[in-house]
């Protein structure tokens, strides 16, 4: 048993080593000093409290998206439409804030209602992908991709149409909301403890769902073998649909946080790619909830840490994406080699 655990760790370390070799190769090919680049990323992410609070700000939507995706992955679904679900969450939140901002309700209640509306928005968009799969026979990958485009189209339409800034509409988004309607932040920081609490709650929820509930167990059965689960009396499509809706709720919350705590308005690329990044995190942790939080934090740190690369080292900040992608690819390939190896 112990030696199995040791071998497991060794294979994982091998994958990380491979990723490190590959990214260093890319850096050398680009004529960049690898060590300086890595040091810069670490410094940019953990250098001081200001940097680290930025990492946490990025961690919140990524964690929310990943939590939702763990549920759809366990149900055997590739919810690539998560980007659109985050976007619809942001649209729902913006809609509620616009509707209620001039009312006499206390700001705290308005924010709460807006976040809830965003979650519903994400769930509605996710159930569309679910309905396309269940009733339309459209694979969730293709339906989800289509819905992502529709969500972006809808955002652009709202920003340039009904919700445009007085005067001239622009890609910079809608009119920012009154600071009273922003999620309260820590003194002297842009970090909102409420947002962090929401993200922590999401992963705890998913962990308990998988570990301690009958629903989670049946969902796993549906994911492993839908036909067998159906024969054993699990209402398969209802379970898949519920996984979509749950994921949509979390994705919607991510969009709501982007509006109420980060941008304070609706912008065209409001999802910031956190949905796709969440898919990568979920794949990297092999769909195990317990590892999702630290890995998401590491990915958020890479994103934030590389922001200053263009200024300091004249490197493009997409280096973060290169490292993340190489890491996930290495883990997938090494896992494949390992399976082939042990089969012999």
């Amino acid at each position: 048993m112990r030696s199995a655990a040791v071998t497991n760790v060794l294979w994982k370390l091998g994958a990380v080593g491979l990723a490190l070799v590959l990214t260093t190769g890319v850096l050398v090919a680009a004529g960049a000093p690898p060590l300086a680049a890595y040091r810069n990323i670490l410094n940019g992410a953990f250098g001081d409290w200001g940097n680290f609070s930025d990492v946490l700000i990025a961690w919140v939507p990524l964690m929310l998206a990943t939590s939702g995706l763990l549920i759809t992955f366990v149900a055997g679904l590739w919810n690539i439409g998560i980007e659109g679900q985050i976007t619809l969450g942001a649209i729902g939140t913006t809609w509620a804030l616009r509707l209620l901002q001039d009312s006499s309700l206390p700001p705290g209640l308005i924010i709460l209602l807006a976040v809830l509306t965003g979650m519903v928005g994400g769930a509605v968009w996710a159930s569309l992908a679910g309905a396309l799969k269940t009733f339309g026979g459209v694979n969730e990958i293709f339906g989800g991709l289509g819905l992502n485009f529709v969500a972006v189209a809808l955002t652009v339409y709202l920003i340039f149409g009904p919700w445009k800034r007085p005067g001239v509409a622009s890609m910079s988004g809608t009119v920012p909301f009154d600071p009273a309607l922003w999620l309260p932040t820590l003194e002297g920081s842009r970090l909102s403890p409420w947002a962090v609490a929401l993200a922590v709650a999401s992963i705890v929820f998913v962990y308990i769902l998988f570990r301690g509930t009958y629903y989670g167990l049946r969902l796993k059965a549906v994911g492993k073998n839908p036909h067998a689960a159906y024969l054993l009396g699990v209402p398969t499509w209802q379970y898949m649909m519920s996984a979509f809706v749950l994921c949509g709720l979390f994705a919607g919350a991510a969009g709501a946080v982007q509006v109420t705590a980060v941008y304070h308005r609706l912008i065209p690329s409001i999802s910031s790619g956190y949905g796709y990044l969440g898919l990568m995190v979920a794949m990297l942790v092999n769909y195990q909830a317990i590892w999702a939080a630290p890995v998401a934090l590491f990915f958020a740190a890479l994103n934030i840490g590389s922001i200053q690369l263009p200024i300091v080292l004249k490197l493009d900040s997409t280096l973060a994406g290169v490292i993340q992608g190489t890491l996930v690819l290495s883990v997938l390939l090494v896992e494949g080699v390992r399976q082939k190896w042990t089969q012999r």
Partner: protein, 332 residues
Amino acid sequence: MSTDALFIGLAGVLFSASPLIFAVIGETITERAGVINLSMNGTILLAAMGGFGAAASTGSLLAGFAAGMLIGAVVALVVAFASITLKQSQVAVGFVLALLCRDLAYFLGNPYVGQAGPRLSFVPVPILSSLPALGPLLFNHDVMTYLSFVLVIVAWTYLYKTRPGLMLQGIGERPAAAFVRGANVKALRYFYTLLGGALIGLAGPMYSLSVKAGWKGTISGLDGLGWIALAITIFGGWNPLRAAFGVYLFALLQWLGIVLQPVLPGIPSQVLQVAPFPLMIMALLLVNIGNAEWVTRTLARLPERTRHAIARILRAMRASPPASLGVPFDSE
């Protein structure tokens, strides 16, 4: 609008659609062999950057297109190795590559941003280009656009009218049967995935050396095209002719968005630009809904004449994926 302007506009549609033709035919061939190459969005970007870089530094357009093909084939090789040899999830590997190659393109392409590079020139076909209407429409393009017309016809003929083409269908539909008939399923899947990848890769330099000449990093306007190509492949029902129709329809809708701008001043131009996407998803639904079980059940309850009419429409729209798409093959 005068007829001349109309034909020149439509010629522009054929021209701007040509890279997507290569990408969609490449993906169709790959998926026909039973492999999904989900990396397209990243592959096209990386090939666009690499192709532009190679052409700009050597001054040779040929080097640019060769680099694009090579990049597409190498990415496809990773997909093939991971899925055919290592039996890992094709979707997972393809998706990671889609993101990784995109970021690699932006990262490695940084020095080329805004650089001047060569550009493919138009080569009117003698005599034919002076035909009325057809001349400006079909015979006044660059070489790659002509090749895109040829590719559609060749791919269709190969797939449906030749023995190796039938074998290609076989390894995607019933690999075990093809294996019994003596086909080396794994080797053929490798071959068609790499061939398809090379065609997808060609789409990159077709953008960066022709349709959207130059490399502008994140604002090159190429991000997302690969995902659209993937959707059109499904819409095309894995049939090269129907896939080409999907590509031209998409390009036509985008062009109409620009042309109709002055006629519909109430709608912002950014909205008309994205209008094809909702239409695309409706089309996907129509193509797939005939496959759903409840549709068959509901149809059975309708009066006979209505049932026949609806069933005929659904059958005409419908497309089923190759039966073994995404399923690894084991000869044992």
